[in-house]
Symmetry: C2
Subunit: 209 residues, 2 copies
């Protein structure tokens, strides 16, 4: 099996050509297309063609939040690390992850919750437009749902792509049912890498606006 | 669909029970089992049952490297971010990622290579036992292969789990063919999350030794 000769700068473009070719007749609406493509690019898993959910107007809402300098909040430092920092800076956006914060650990311990839950409570205090990206912890989505239904914290967009086996499927259906602007990967799949990929795809769309 | 009530501390254990149950009759040798299980846990993708390759004695070699205080080198800051820092510290190990280093960017630009290639060259200068974990860049595996065959840099273990469409499959077969102690995910799948999961699984096995 021979190596294909591709210049470093062309690797990503060539990857998207291959994804495009393999999708074949499976078409995607123009607005969500770059996001689904990037999820597939990040995972080499075409399941994301079928499992990505977008609430109506979710991408438009995200772009408007990005233009207002939204704070991306992630539920892992890994997702934070994967978000393109120059792209954030181009739009006056920033990214926060509270998972390793001492006050979050203390709140989680004293309330008997996860740190992911306590991180949502901390983000609720930011007083800024937030895009909340969940790639790991279903408990973060459950807590977001509680805040949204109580009206105590309503992000501009929730990216709900936790991965796993315990309450992952349920938490995604819950956040979808809330009616909030939302991009989710239905089912068990997702991850910090997918969360970062969706954030980056949105930032790259914003670059072209 | 009801949420399952699981205490925060029990979520991981419960997840592994579910993976175990769904694997059913598909058995795994004891030594590689925790690594494959953790790759599935990280991705919710049972393909890792079939696609994980372990060179003979790879786990034993990894444990011995961990006990000698190996440096984990990753090809993304995302993978670095996902490796358990207290677990590293328990074994006197550390983790480095050179991808954002200025000298790496300069070497890549002047040699017309990727930063991943230049990062391998930088790691070759460490003069310490290295576990090299590649979750993103096939060019890193190709460069490792060149060093290994030339005898200029031979890591204790290579974790070859890049994801993608251009030279990913080929680069994994190349590193497997080198005969070096190696853990790889054959095919297109993998990622920074999988790279971190394999590193963590090895550290947790070392904890129990």
């Amino acid at each position: 099996m021979e190596l294909e000769y591709v210049l470093p700068k062309d690797i990503e473009r060539r990857s998207f050509e291959i994804i495009e070719a393999e999708l074949g007749d499976r078409k995607l609406p123009e607005d969500i297309r770059p996001i689904v493509m990037r999820a597939i690019h990040t995972t080499a898993d075409f399941d994301y063609y079928d499992n990505m959910y977008f609430s109506e107007g979710a991408v438009k809402k995200a772009l408007s939040a990005i233009k207002s300098g939204a704070v991306f909040v992630t539920d892992t430092n890994m997702a934070k690390s994967g978000i393109n920092k120059p792209a954030l800076a181009r739009h006056g956006c920033s990214v926060e992850c509270f998972m390793a914060d001492r006050d979050v650990a203390e709140a989680a311990a004293s309330n008997g919750t996860t740190r992911a839950t306590a991180s949502v409570d901390k983000a609720a205090q930011l007083g800024k437009p937030v895009i909340y990206a969940v790639g790991n912890a279903p408990t973060a989505l459950v807590r977001l749902y509680e805040h949204i239904t109580a009206g105590t914290f309503v992000p501009e967009l929730v990216i709900g792509v936790p991965v796993g086996f315990v309450n992952v499927v349920q938490s995604k259906e819950l956040i979808i049912s809330s009616g909030i602007p939302c991009i989710a990967a239905r089912g068990r799949k997702g991850g910090s890498n997918v969360a970062a990929a969706v954030c980056n795809a949105l930032l790259y769309i914003a670059d072209k606006e």
